[in-house]
Assembly symmetry: C2
Homo-oligomer: 417 residues x 2
């Protein structure tokens, strides 16, 4: 195989996770080792936007120690974006600009870390560069707490979010039981179309400290049925925990906040705003006349790296490393995927997935992993998810608080090139 | 000193914390050691309510290993209550009932773990038993995430909540900065009258990843001033994090949710419910027309023992132990207090505080620890709080998830006594 010499461009895209920086650390440390092949390693500010705007950093300027700490620093250290490239048939301006920048900086390796939309970007750029005959190896690095990427068993970011959700739900379970009164707690969990995150609450049930009811977007949501479920559970034990995916929607496609105003109950009549947890909590309060509490796990579920899964952090780092190794070995137009052995104990295995198989696909929780009533999760999911939350990733602690990576972010001067 | 032989009654009261069970573990393990002095060690179900109803557990039946795990199990393992004893001048029924139960079970040591209201209960029971000439040593064990107990430098429960808040705010700070757009994040933190918990967000600022603005109940809240602060910070950096205590109130005593409806803005006109974070976020959104997010740290801030402070867990355990030791040595009518050396490195020191000095007193953040503008926190607070969040308490982990204490809770049979 011919050795392709040149520079690396790396970008982070989409919503941040507890481990997206671990993948960045994997790409940077592996790429910086490739003496004689890779010269410069650039990190784009705010993903593809930084490439278009020619704003990126020279990662070789960073201290080794900080790149190590980057592995346990949550969020997106280089900045992210939600920029979508136009369809090339409609407008090829962005594509031409990317080619121009890549040529100017001799970018021969492009690594893009993100979810569905980002893999779509990656795929489009890859196909354009091929068509233009510009040799550049393009490898996607998977990332999403949503776990909805096709072509991979699971996604870096998911295990840590799942561990945070399960741990937090267990803690809230204990807290919600201290008073000798009836109480319903509604916990809202991220996930617009796929219910993987809300399903993680079932890990708490598996340990005996979990929700009685879990609703995912994979099953049409029915407010009356939910209310029946809650009433039944409440009369059984007077303590109910309901976990609900923010993405649940009715059979005719309405999200919970869209139900507000439509129903002429007192609870809904006077308010328009607030998340699903608040809305459902108030609705349940009106119907049951008991103490309720709505909790939204909000940004914490994707940023709480203090309780990240060690398996997840390692797999995120490895995905970054493997992206570089695959590209050096001649692979391109792929995303790094993860798979597990067909049987026997869990083990991380790497696979290569053609980008076009990933782009814009969305993997949902299989219906048969959800119980028949559509209000809880089956053992198949527990068996799937447990290996992904193993081990505790440790922060570097300083003064009793996290020590995050302190990057210099030395901006590459446009005039130098 | 005369040795007082008899049985122990212990109860947990008020809102749970990450470490209230550590104090219980301290009381139980120390009391169970006192052969020849203490015979039975009882744990009341739901605090004083369990005593009145004669529902309690024989703690000697518990496995030693489970009592050890209790030390790192959040929430209130025996159950809590918010029951307030009547003023004895009004109605002495409850007091007579307590005396009856104490006599029946030969209770000579009463330990009560809680905050202001609980120390009031403790004080009232203590004074009544004295008046009746029933010899029983009564010792309060401090507990509250609010940190508002008088007579002690700080309270077990606060350090862990402060560590959770500071860590979470640091993580949210990073998350809120990933996109290249303006954004205001409002984080609502517990604390009805005292701002200690919201002040803990300043620890994140101290590390360089914290809120630009912090509002405590100690300073009258002015919505217009807050809006000016937010606008100024927003125009400076386009990213603003605002931490607000749930207890902030206007000069005429109105809490934020009470402002809703009173102001005729669009944001407030159509809604009545939701916490301060949501309300302020929507108000700011209307004024600034930028992306906003309201986050409520909810029950997590008092139950997230996975990120508890090791200092706090040890002090909570020690407070329980010391309560037993003090009572055995003849002390009564006191609460265990914590103090620190006047100078030099931090060290945990125990003091005894007369119960009447604690009951119903509320200790607030000193005004001089808050900046002049009333929108951030001074270094004095940082110096005070840092020692309390040191070290990481570790869960026992099992299957990648917390392993909580599994108590048998062997109910004491009324007929046996």
């Amino acid at each position: 195989m011919e050795v392709l010499k040149g520079n690396v461009m790396f970008g982070q895209s989409g919503g941040p996770t507890a481990v997206i920086n671990a993948s960045a650390a994997g790409v940077f440390t592996e790429a910086l080792k490739q003496e004689g092949i890779i010269d410069k390693v650039y990190g784009a500010a705010h993903g593809i936007v930084g490439i278009l705007d020619e704003v990126f950093y020279d990662m070789s300027e960073e201290d080794e120690r900080e790149l190590e700490i980057l592995k346990t620093t949550p969020s997106s250290a280089l900045g992210s974006c939600r920029y979508k490239l136009e369809d090339i048939e409609e407008d090829d301006k962005d594509y031409r600009r990317i080619l121009e920048v890549f040529k100017k900086y001799n970018i021969r390796y492009f690594f893009y870390n993100g979810g569905n939309d980002s893999m779509d970007t990656c795929n489009k750029v890859s196909k354009f560069l091929q068509k233009e005959g510009y040799e550049c190896r393009v490898v996607g690095v998977p990332k999403t707490i949503d776990n909805d990427l096709a072509g991979t068993d699971h996604c870096p970011g998911y295990g840590s979010a799942a561990k945070y959700i399960a741990t937090t739900v267990m803690e809230v379970f204990l807290d919600a039981r201290v008073y000798d009164i009836g109480m319903v707690t509604v916990i809202e969990i991220m996930g617009r179309n796929a219910g993987w995150l809300a399903a993680a609450a079932a890990l708490a049930s598996y340990k005996g400290y979990g929700p009685e009811l879990i609703y995912l977007p994979e099953v049409p949501f029915d407010l009356d049925e939910m209310m029946e479920d809650v009433q039944r559970e409440f009369h059984r034990d007077r303590k109910v925990i309901v976990c609900v995916s923010e993405g649940v929607k009715t059979a005719d496609g309405k999200y919970i906040p869209e139900l507000v105003g439509e129903l002429s109950t007192d609870a809904f009549g006077h308010k328009q705003m607030g998340g699903s947890a608040t809305i459902l909590a108030e609705y349940i309060q009106e119907k049951l006349n008991c103490k309720v509490r709505g909790i939204e796990l909000s940004l914490m579920q994707r940023s709480a790296a203090h309780v990240a899964s060690a398996v997840d952090v390692e797999e995120a780092f490895l995905s970054g490393q493997e992206a570089v190794r695959a590209a050096i070995s001649g692979k391109s137009d792929i995303m790094i995927g993860l798979e597990r052995p067909a049987d026997g104990p869990y083990e991380t295995k790497i696979k290569y997935v053609p980008l076009e198989e990933v782009a814009n696909e969305e993997k949902c929780v299989p219906r048969e992993w959800i119980n028949k009533a559509g209000n809880h999760i089956n053992q198949e999911f527990i068996d799937y998810a447990l290996p992904l939350i193993q081990g505790n990733s440790e922060y570097v602690w300083e003064d009793g608080l996290p020590r995050f990576a302190d990057l210099k972010k030395v901006r590459v001067n446009r005039e130098d090139n």
